[in-house]
């Protein structure tokens, strides 16, 4: 327990001296009360206010996990776990810490802890890794192929793309999250994108080839046991 508390916040994570530059990020201006202010209230004991943060972040977090794990149930469990950890470690939230990256730090750790205990083969649920391909519109089909290509990426690359493309974290924030240089993040994003493109193109050409249906492996119904 104590170990995972350390693991949550790497040393030097957003020390209060370097905040504020991006702490009052522009994407927060549309919200009635900044996440940071709400979180401070939660820290001071108004745990009911966590409901506000839950409303704001359940969908982004759920999508982060759904795209990482491909498993709806695990994703919901992990969202729950994140809010449990926020409650439990709310005292460690510091004034001036941008909330969003802090939240995703917890989210990453929760996922890592979860899959450390899990056998690796359960990481991808094929049911969700392959979304239904019934869409007739070409556009939708492309998107679903792209989704599959994304699920084929190794976890770190997938995570990187999800964090910057879907969760809109800044490169600096991701760098801090991963504990590396901003330049490294950019390089890795570019590589991940290239790999995604290759996966996607392969899927696309496999898909357009006739007679390559996925249901080919069906077993004849009788007497297969010997």
């Amino acid at each position: 327990m104590a170990a995972s508390a350390c693991n949550l916040f790497p040393v030097g994570w957003y020390s209060s001296s370097e905040k504020a530059t991006d702490g009052s990020g522009n994407n927060l201006t549309t919200k009635p009360v900044a996440d940071e202010a709400v979180m401070l209230q939660v820290r001071e004991g108004a745990v009911d206010m966590l409901g506000d943060l839950f409303d704001r972040y359940q969908v982004p977090l759920y999508n982060f996990y759904a795209k990482m794990t491909g498993d709806r149930v695990v994703s919901e469990d992990l969202v729950q776990e994140v809010f449990f950890r926020i409650l439990k470690y709310r005292h460690t939230y510091r004034l001036g810490t941008p909330f969003r990256p802090w939240l995703f730090q917890i989210a990453r750790n929760a996922r890592i802890d979860h899959f450390r205990k899990q056998r690796p083969e359960t990481e991808l649920d094929p049911e969700m890794a392959a979304p239904p391909r019934v869409d007739s519109a070409q556009k939708k089909q492309e998107t679903s192929l792209l989704h599959r290509a994304l699920m084929q990426l190794p976890a770190e690359k997938r995570e990187l793309l999800i964090l910057c493309r879907f969760q809109e974290l800044k490169y600096e924030e991701i760098a801090r999250l991963l504990g590396c240089e901003v330049g490294t993040v950019k390089t890795r994003i570019h590589r991940a994108l290239q790999e995604l493109r290759v996966n996607f193109q392969e899927l696309e050409s496999a898909h357009s080839r006739p007679g390559n249906s996925a249901g080919a492996g069906r077993i004849p119904p009788a007497g297969s046991q010997s």
């Binding site: 759920y62 792209l146 989704h147 493309r165 390089t187 193109q201 046991q225």
Partner: protein, 270 residues
Amino acid sequence: MKCERIAELLPDYLRGNLNHEQDDQIEQHLEACAQCRADVAVWQELAHVPVEQPSPQLRARFEAMLHAYQEGQSEKGNVVAERPAGWNWWSGMHWLRPAVGFAVALVLFVAGYFAGSERRSDDSRAQEIAAVQSELTNMRQLLVLSMLQQQSASERLQGITWSAQVQADPQVLSALLRALRYDSSVGVRLAALDALSRHGNQPQVRAGLVKTLDAQQSPLVQVALIDLLVDWRDTSAVQKLQMVEQDPNQNPAVRQRAQLAIEKLNRGKL
């Protein structure tokens, strides 16, 4: 400009972090280079990957957790809140999670109530006892639900054991079904199956068990599941059992067990 040079700038280009001049340079390159163009196209296409919605239960579970936590806090008083750094003694007693702490407090309260209420009139006493008991039931359910969410398998196991003392509440049943299907520990899954075996009269449970049959990863759990379905004479399971029996990816022992089960269930039908 070459691809390598573009590679340095592309991530910033994608986020619109570059100045006009640099943007122009990149766009010139993109016109000439099909691969980089495809990279950018994929990036843009990512925006169309749909946002998925969690189930409405997620909010309910969150509220249950928050509630249990608040109750736990108020029962414990402010001692813990006062000392953020002094977690050590607390984390050592890992079983004494807030929810558990609260339940223990509630049990003590009920015990105290019984002890102290000797002299009251029987009538009002019975009413109050009923009220306290129903509250206790609710708290137990919350407790079970929150324990099934714990990180450690032994705590989840404990949650399953507790669930036996709770009435067959649909929320608890679905938490047990979820444990049976998705828990990472075979022990927890077996315990969940055992707990569910007491609720064979619930259609939700039966349907859930049948559904999880071929999704199970552990042959041990599968065999136990098949045996339970035979015990219940659940003929609706035959179709799924046949699928398992014919699936070459399944464990041979499981397939054999499924075959036997189908024979037994079919015999029962006649």
